[in-house]
Amino acid sequence: MELLTAIFFDFILAFCVAFCWGILFGTPVKALLMAGLLGGLGHGIRFILLHSDFGLISATLIASVTIGLLGIYAAHKVHNPPVVITMPACITMIPGLYAYRSMLAGIKLSDQAILEKDPNIIPSIAHNAVLTFSLLFTLAVGISISALLFRNKSVKQIRFDKSRLLAKGK
């Protein structure tokens, strides 16, 4: 029960983040809700995966790919390109903390006294920078999943109606 509450709390917070991030990026009003829902869902999935001992990077990859795939469907619902929705949704998982840590360690590196006291800052910079870039890369893969899977095809041309699938089957 406690875990469920935590997941729900995570979902609500991530919903707010994605919704507000949509306003910052100028997402159209009718797509904002969808962006919020996808963001909340993606972050919730990542939360669950992290709790079941997935690595941070693989959890983020799965979450962002889920957002990217659901975004194609959501884009059809609100008649917007998928990027408009998936971009704010994926930004909820932006690795700000790791970027900040590598930057702060970088500032400290300029002071010799601090460096001599704690030489661990150099590996800490490397670790955090690598984490930041890997997480960014996974987010980009999630957003561009439609371009990767359906090469050179506009998302608008992907159809969901069953009639066409059946026709193909025949």
């Binding site: 983040v17 507000c20 100028g26 390109p81 971009m87």
Partner: protein, 265 residues
């Protein structure tokens, strides 16, 4: 009937087509579309008007060639510099819709020009709403990262104040990198009080999450998408742009951290 219609559309000169494509493409690029999207949108319009096209997108501008298969005289190559980058995803929606309207033959050239002009002048969200939204999202991110309500409140104040300050700096037409430095300095100054006076439980999270609204997420992610799709020059330009913004944020944070006393952090 169909042939007549096609003939009537053939009359549009290559130069006009190129101009329209450049106008739309450059604006898309500055609003945060990746090169593949710009290509698809432009190609759709050129195809309808009966022209072949090819283009070289760089982040700072687009070079486009438009030519008619049947008339080798009717060809043109032009370049246009992109306006200043400012992310606005609604533009992507609207230009995409416009390009579909053109491709379906619902809009003729003059109408399309008028519609593009209207899209360019479309109002954005008011700055106070953006500042509020930015504050809320940074507060929520702070809570997500494990901050207490006090941390979140400080992140909210810092982010909202910084976002509003950035709006006014940009309004005065200062260099945009300067706006990033000042905004991140203001945000860090406010968020840093958490660390200095030990107000919340996780002051590190306040600092780390309150400047996230400045992170150039769209250029960063677009640069990776461009890389995956093979637009290398655009990808490099975008990542350079994003990297310089990130370093500007770092400079602003460093200024404030030095001002507040580096030993606290």
């Amino acid at each position: 009937m169909m042939e007549n219609k096609d003939k009537a559309q053939k009359k549009i000169k290559a130069n006009e087509v190129a101009e329209f494509i450049l106008d739309a493409g450059v604006f898309l690029m500055a609003s945060g579309a990746h090169s593949g999207r710009v290509w698809r949108n432009c190609k759709r319009m050129a195809d309808h008007w009966g022209y072949h096209m090819n283009f070289n997108p760089t982040f700072t501008g687009i070079m486009v060639s438009v030519w008619d298969d049947k008339n080798s005289e009717n060809a043109v190559t032009r370049y246009k510099t992109a306006p200043q980058n400012s992310v606005h995803l609604e533009t992507l929606t609207q230009i995409s819709h416009l390009s579909w309207e053109i491709a379906d033959g619902k809009t003729d050239y003059d109408d399309a020009c008028r519609k593009l002009e209207a899209i360019k002048n479309k109002a954005r969200y008011p700055f106070w709403l953006v500042a509020l939204a930015v504050g809320i999202s940074c507060g929520c991110l702070c809570t997500l990262a494990g901050g207490s309500p006090v941390d979140a409140a400080l992140a909210f104040c810092g982010a909202a104040a910084g976002s509003a300050a950035r709006h006014f700096i940009l309004k005065k037409q200062f260099n945009q990198f300067l706006s990033f430095i000042i905004a991140s300095a203001i945000t860090t100054l406010i968020a840093g009080t958490d660390t200095v006076f030990a107000l919340g439980k996780a002051p590190e999270m306040t600092l780390a999450t309150s400047v996230l609204y400045l992170i150039p997420g769209v250029p960063l992610i677009n640069s990776v998408i461009d890389l995956l799709e093979g637009y290398f020059s655009a990808s490099i330009a975008r990542s350079l742009f994003a990297a310089s913004i990130v370093s500007c944020i770092a400079v602003g944070m460093t200024l404030s951290i030095m001002l507040l006393g580096i030993n606290y952090f």
